[in-house]
C-alpha cells in the first residue's frame, strides 16, 4: 500500500526545549497508527507539524508524498483534522457548520447529503438544525467527524479525539475509524487511551520526551501487555 504520511528525521526545538527529536515514521493508506504518550511527550507537536501549523527545526513531514512545509495549502486537500475538543461556531447549526467547513474544502453538498454525513457520524437528526452552542462535547465531536468524513481525506489526524467522551460515544467513534480505515484512509491518532489504541490501532507508537521509543503491532499483544510496556517506558 502507498505511504501517505511520513516523517523523516523530523525535529522541533522550542527555545531551550527539544519537543521532537528526529521522528522517523511511515503510515500507509488504510493503516491506523495510534501514538501513545504523556502530556508534553510531543504528540500534538507532531500533529501540528503534519498540519503545517508550525515549521520543523529540521527534517521534513510529508503528506501523500508532498513536503508539508513547502506545500502548506496543497497538503490540506489530503488531510482532515479532529482536535481533542472540536469547537465549532456556536451561532451556526450543526448543518451550517458542516456546510461551511465542507465548502472550504471544496465540497458543496446539498442539505440531504449534509444530513447523511451528520447522521452517519452519529448525530441525531433533530440536533442537526439546532445551534451548536447548545451541543454536548460528544455531539460536537460527531460534527467534527462528519466534517472529516465529508472531506474524503486520505489522511485523518486525530488529537485525543475520545478524551471526555462517554463509553458509548467512544465505541461509536472507534467503529467509525475502522470503517474509514477499511475505505483506505490513513489515520494518525495521538491519544492517552491505551485500550482504545489496542482496539482500533494497526500499530501503536510510544512517545516519550519527544522521542518515538517503540512501535508495536497491535495484533501481536493484548491490552494488558501494552499497558505494562507503556508504563515501563514512562518509568512508572
Amino acid at each position: 500500500m502507498d505511504i501517505v504520511l511520513e516523517a523523516k528525521q523530523l525535529k522541533k526545538q522550542y527555545q531551550d526545549k527539544l519537543a521532537l527529536k528526529g521522528l522517523d515514521l511511515q503510515i500507509k493508506a488504510g493503516e491506523i497508527f495510534c501514538l501513545l504518550g504523556q502530556n508534553g511527550a510531543g504528540k500534538s507537536t507532531t500533529i501540528n507539524l503534519f498540519l503545517g501549523f508550525i515549521k520543523p527545526t529540521s527534517g521534513a513531514a510529508y503528506i501523500n508524498g508532498l513536503e508539508v512545509a513547502a506545500n502548506i495549502t496543497k497538503i490540506k486537500e489530503y488531510l482532515a483534522y479532529i482536535p481533542e475538543n472540536v469547537m465549532l461556531y456556536p451561532n451556526l447549526t450543526g448543518l451550517e457548520n458542516l456546510a461551511l467547513f465542507s465548502s472550504l474544502a471544496g465540497f458543496d453538498y446539498d442539505k440531504v447529503q449534509l444530513m447523511h454525513y451528520l447522521i452517519s457520524a452519529g448525530l441525531p437528526a433533530e440536533a442537526a438544525s439546532r445551534r451548536v452552542g447548545g451541543y454536548s462535547k460528544g455531539m460536537r465531536q460527531k460534527v467534527g467527524i462528519a466534517i472529516a468524513v465529508a472531506k474524503h481525506a486520505k489522511v485523518l489526524l486525530l488529537d485525543e479525539p475520545t478524551s471526555g467522551l462517554d463509553p458509548k460515544a467512544s465505541n461509536e467513534f472507534s467503529e467509525l475509524l475502522l470503517k474509514l480505515s477499511e475505505a483506505g484512509t490513513a489515520i494518525f491518532m495521538a491519544t492517552h487511551d491505551i485500550f482504545r489504541s489496542k482496539e482500533v490501532g494497526t500499530r501503536v507508537g510510544i512517545m516519550r520526551e519527544g522521542e518515538l521509543v517503540d512501535v508495536l503491532s497491535a495484533a501481536e499483544l493484548d491490552a494488558n501487555e501494552l499497558e505494562k510496556l507503556y508504563l515501563n517506558y514512562m518509568h512508572v
Binding site: F53, F101, L104, L157
Partner: protein, 473 residues
C-alpha cells in the same frame, strides 16, 4: 472560500444578541443625529434666509439718502448653510453666521451658535459625523477584536485552516463579513439622510450636491474599512481576546480622543494668532498712513486733488466734472481694503498653519483625515468659512465703491445735503452667496485624501501580510 467564511461571519454576528443590541443603539443614535441635524439645519437656514431677505429689502427700500450715508448704513451678509452640513456641523457652530458690511470697515463674521448657546456645545454635538467618526469605529472594535483571537482560544482556527484556507483568506473573508455587518448598521441612516435631503424642498438638487454626498459616504466607508482591517489584523497578531481588545481601545483613544486635542493645542502653541485688539490697532495704524476719505485737507488727498485738476485742466474742485469727495472716498476705501485684506490674509495663513498640523497628522491618524474630508464635503470647514468671508468682503468693497461712484458722479463737490431717491438703492445688487463646488472642496483636502488612501493601502498590504506571522499553534 472567502464567500463561505464571510457569510458565516455575517450570520454569526446577526445571531449574536449582544452585538444586535449594540448595533440597534448605534443605529438609533445615527437616526436621531440625522433628524436633530436636519431640524437644526432647517431652523438655522430658514432664519438666515429670512434675515438675508429682510436686510436686502430694508436696504432696497431705504429712504432718500446721501450715498455716503447709505454706505455707512450698510448691510448684512448671512452665511447660508451648506445643504449637507446637517450631517457634519464642522466649524459652523463656532464660526460666525453673519457679517456687517459697511464703508471703511471690514467686520469679521459674528453670532456663532457657540456664542449664543450654553457652554455645553463646547463638549461636542451629537451629529451624524460624531457617530460616524467616533462611535462606529468603537462598534467595529467590539465586532472585530475577537476575529482571530476567539478562533484561537476555542480552537476553530485550526479546523478552519486544516480545510485548506490560508490565514490571509480567512482574514479577507472576515473583513468582507464584518464590512457587510457595518454596512447594515450604517446604510439605513445614510439612506434616511439621503431621502430627507432629496425629499425636502428649499435647496437645489444639483450635481454638486450629489457629488458631495457621494464623496461624504465614500470617505466614511473607506474609514470604516480601514478600522475593520486594522481590527482584524491586530486580532490576528494577538493570542488572547482581552489583550486584542485593550490594544484596539488604546488605539481608538489615541486616534479619536488624544491626537485631535493634541494637534489642536500644538498648532495653537506653535502658531499664535494676534488678538482682535492687536489686529485692529495695526489695521488702524496702517489705514491712517493712506488717504482719509473724510479729510480732504490731508496731504495725500492734496496730491490726488492736484492730479485731478491737472488731468481735467481746471483750477478748482468745483469745476471738476466729478465730485472730488466721491473720488477721495473711493481711493480711501481702496487703501483701507487693501490693508485689511493683507492682515486678514496673514491671520488666515496662521489659522491655516495651525490647521495643517492636524491635516498632516492625518497621515498618522485616519480619524483626522476623515474628519477634514467630512467637514470639507459638508461645507462646514475652515476653507468654506474663509470663502464666504472673502465673498462678503468682495461684495462690501464693490458696494462701497459703487456708492462712492454714485457720489462722485451724481453729486457736486461739497454737497453733503442732497438726498438721492430711494429708488437708487433698488438698483444695487443684493448680496448673494454661491458656495464653491465639490471639486474645490476636495482640492482643499488633498492631503487628507492621500492620508486616507495611504492608510487603506497600508492596512490592506502590510497589515494582511503581517497576519502571516500570526501564531496558530
Amino acid at each position: 472560500m472567502v464567500k463561505s467564511i464571510a457569510k458565516k461571519e455575517f450570520i454569526s454576528t446577526l445571531r449574536d444578541s449582544r452585538f444586535v443590541a449594540l448595533s440597534v443603539i448605534v443605529l438609533l443614535l445615527l437616526l436621531a443625529a440625522t433628524m436633530v441635524g436636519l431640524h437644526s439645519y432647517q431652523t438655522l437656514q430658514e432664519e438666515r434666509e429670512v434675515a438675508q431677505q429682510t436686510v436686502n429689502e430694508q436696504f432696497a427700500n431705504s429712504a432718500d439718502r446721501h450715498p455716503h450715508r447709505m454706505a455707512h448704513y450698510g448691510s448684512y451678509a448671512f452665511r447660508p448653510k451648506s445643504s449637507i452640513s446637517f450631517l457634519d456641523f464642522g466649524m459652523d457652530s463656532y464660526t460666525g453666521a453673519s457679517v456687517y458690511m459697511e464703508a471703511h470697515r471690514q467686520n469679521s463674521a459674528n453670532f456663532s451658535q457657540a456664542q449664543q448657546s450654553s457652554s455645553l456645545i463646547r463638549f461636542g454635538e451629537m451629529t451624524v459625523a460624531f457617530v460616524l467618526q467616533m462611535l462606529i469605529p468603537l462598534l467595529i472594535i467590539f465586532l472585530c477584536f475577537g476575529a482571530f483571537t476567539q478562533e484561537k482560544e476555542t480552537g476553530t482556527l485550526t479546523i478552519l485552516l486544516s480545510q485548506g484556507v490560508s490565514l490571509q483568506q480567512v482574514a479577507w473573508a472576515k473583513i468582507a463579513g464584518y464590512s457587510k455587518v457595518v454596512l447594515l448598521v450604517v446604510a439605513p441612516a445614510l439612506v434616511l439622510a439621503s431621502l430627507l435631503l432629496f425629499g425636502r424642498g428649499g435647496f437645489e438638487l444639483n450635481g454638486d450636491l450629489y457629488s458631495r454626498l457621494l464623496l461624504f459616504m465614500l470617505f466614511y466607508l473607506l474609514y470604516f474599512f480601514i478600522f475593520i482591517v486594522l481590527s482584524v489584523v491586530l486580532s490576528a497578531l494577538h493570542q488572547r481576546s482581552s489583550t486584542a481588545l485593550v490594544t484596539l481601545l488604546g488605539i481608538w483613544i489615541l486616534f479619536c480622543v488624544i491626537t485631535p486635542k493634541a494637534t489642536a493645542n500644538l498648532g495653537a502653541t506653535l502658531y499664535t494668532t494676534p488678538t482682535k485688539a492687536q489686529m485692529d490697532v495695526e489695521v488702524h495704524e496702517e489705514v491712517a498712513k493712506g488717504v482719509d476719505g473724510h479729510n480732504s485737507g490731508d496731504e495725500r488727498a492734496e496730491a490726488i486733488k492736484q492730479e485731478l485738476l491737472q488731468t481735467y485742466g481746471v483750477a478748482t474742485l468745483e469745476e471738476l466734472p466729478i465730485n472730488f469727495d466721491g473720488v477721495l472716498m473711493a481711493v480711501g476705501e481702496e487703501h483701507s481694503s487693501k490693508v485689511y485684506q493683507e492682515h486678514f490674509d496673514e491671520l488666515t495663513a496662521i489659522f491655516q498653519k495651525q490647521n495643517n498640523i492636524s491635516v498632516f497628522a492625518g497621515l498618522l491618524n485616519p480619524y483626522l483625515a476623515v474628519r477634514h474630508l467630512s467637514m470639507g464635503m459638508a461645507g462646514s470647514d475652515f476653507s468654506h468659512y474663509i470663502h464666504f468671508q472673502n465673498k462678503a468682503e468682495q461684495y462690501r468693497y464693490n458696494q462701497s465703491q459703487e456708492l462712492n461712484h454714485i457720489q462722485a458722479t451724481k453729486l457736486k463737490y461739497g454737497d453733503k445735503e442732497t438726498r438721492l431717491s430711494g429708488d437708487t438703492w433698488k438698483n444695487l445688487k443684493p448680496f448673494q452667496y454661491e458656495a464653491p463646488g465639490a471639486g474645490w472642496a476636495l482640492s482643499n483636502h488633498s492631503i487628507s485624501l492621500v492620508a486616507l488612501l495611504l492608510w487603506l493601502g497600508l492596512v490592506c498590504t502590510l497589515g494582511i501580510r503581517l497576519i502571516g506571522y500570526s501564531k496558530i499553534a
